[in-house]
């Protein structure tokens, strides 16, 4: 069982920054995220896009902002449960919370902060009649363990970065890699497109375009897919079919936790501390709604800060607390590091 002070659901920018603010108050955090890496939308959707409204950064790429946040919170040693979704939440008799993921990982926390953004990113599934039957029987939407595909025949469908990147990566592992896309043009980083072209020329990637997968075949496991190209239909033998058509966010299980939901967002009682209708559960960042709500990263940072103060007061009732400035108090990491401002020099000038 994982024990922590604040369990943060969602490892996007708001969730990550909450770790820092909690750390200043000596509160330990653990984060759960459905994606296999931290950063949320910034990493998954637009890592190379510049953001122009982060205070103090005239321009910063989304991926770089996530890297910086990870660097900033490292000293507070947050724990991560990645690639799993928070499925059930139970408020225990002593007022603490138990959150169990879809993989059965149990988390126990004194407070819960939902920083889930637009929700859990789920793969967009192609509309193939029997695709659900073959899920985990040869149809995969994520590649978590590339070794799984060693010496296997793999078909990837899609025209974006992930289809290109995984085709390149798996071309060194799988026995056969076929990439299928509806168009001849791919949308991705130039070097990825060029690399796929090179691997195609070397015969390491079999490219079928413009074409579409129209069916899946196999007894108990994928053994072939049906492809339509130039009006002709044919089967291609394969062990795996990996459709990579991007991800779409869904609020998912969080919607069943008894929280007040409005327009796919969690209603928070006020903008004092972003607590939900269940005391001890907070919602911060894009996932919440309240009068005047703005879905901006910088607003998420502010909400995370107020949430942490509220959790501190909740866990330490009656304890006097004065807001401290990092320039004055420095930062004491849980890893034993200390960062502080240099003392001013006081010296006589003769």
């Amino acid at each position: 069982m994982i024990k922590t002070d604040i369990l943060i659901i969602g490892a996007g920018p708001t969730g990550l920054f909450a770790v820092f603010e909690a750390g200043l108050l000596k509160l330990k955090c653990h984060l759960i995220d459905a994606l296999p890496q931290s950063g949320g939308q910034l990493t998954e959707l637009y890592p190379k896009k510049p953001i122009f409204d982060i205070p103090g950064f005239p321009s910063i790429n989304a991926g770089e902002l996530v890297d910086n946040l990870m660097e900033q919170i490292k000293q507070f040693q947050p724990g991560f449960t990645l690639g799993e979704t928070a499925q059930t939440l139970t408020k225990l008799e002593d007022g603490t919370f138990e959150v169990i993921t879809n993989k059965g990982t149990v988390h126990h926390a004194k407070a819960v902060a939902i920083a889930g953004g637009l929700g859990t990113f789920e793969p967009r599934k192609p509309a193939l009649e029997n695709i659900a039957y073959y899920e985990e029987k040869g149809v995969e939407y994520f590649i978590k363990e590339p070794e799984h595909f060693r010496n296997k025949k793999v078909v990837i469908a899609g025209g974006g970065d992930s289809a290109l990147d995984w085709s390149i990566f798996l071309s060194n592992i799988a026995s056969d890699v076929t990439l299928i896309h509806r168009r001849n043009e791919f949308r991705g980083a130039l070097d990825s497109v060029e690399k796929v072209q090179e691997l195609k020329n070397q015969g390491k990637i079999n490219l079928i375009t413009p074409a579409e997968v129209t069916g899946i075949k196999g007894e108990g496991h994928v053994s072939a897919i049906t492809i339509q190209k130039d009006g002709e239909t044919f089967d291609l033998e394969t062990d795996y079919f990996i459709p990579l058509f991007g991800l779409t966010p869904k609020l998912g299980d969080i919607g069943n936790w008894g929280l007040e939901i409005e327009k796919n967002a969690i209603v928070v009682n006020n903008s004092l501390d972003y607590q939900t209708n269940i005391p001890g559960i907070y919602a911060i960042g894009d996932v919440n709604t309240y009068p005047g709500k703005l879905k901006l990263i910088l607003c998420g940072f502010h909400e995370a800060t107020l949430m942490c103060q509220s959790v501190y007061n909740r866990l330490n009732p009656g304890k006097k607390f004065v807001l401290k400035y990092t320039t004055v108090s420095g930062v004491d990491g849980f890893d034993g590091t200390r960062k502080e401002a240099e003392k001013a020099v006081v010296k006589k000038i003769e």
Binding site: L45, L118, R124, G158, R187, G246, K263
Partner: protein
């Protein structure tokens, strides 16, 4: 600056006559969103970067008023679902006086 008239049919098949401003650098996705013609969380998911197709619309009337599709929009639509010949991404259609009278229907999502 003038306002323009748009006809937008929502995902339930209800047609709305909308007056949209041309001086707020808005796009069609933002108009649909601000008039709450699609449920929040199912429109403009990527924020308007032509990366999700949640703002896909079918152009019913006035296609000739629109600027040609850009590469990013074209590529996104090649991966999207429910795509028809008259599909466009709302986030790539800027609200200008030229598109006055445009008529669209919001496509299903996801």
């Amino acid at each position: 600056m003038q306002d323009i008239n748009l006809k937008i049919t929502d995902r339930n098949g209800v047609m709305h006559e909308i007056v949209a401003p041309t001086d707020m650098s808005m796009n069609l996705m933002e108009v649909i969103r601000s008039y709450e013609l699609a449920e929040e969380g199912t429109i403009g998911v990527c924020g308007g970067m032509a990366m999700c197709a949640s703002c896909q619309v079918y152009v019913v009337d006035g296609a000739e008023k629109l600027l040609k599709m850009g590469e990013e929009e074209d590529a996104m639509l090649s991966e999207a679902f429910h795509v028809q010949d008259n599909s466009r991404l709302g986030c790539q259609i800027h609200i200008t006086s030229e598109i006055d009278g445009l008529e669209v229907a919001v496509a299903p999502y996801p």
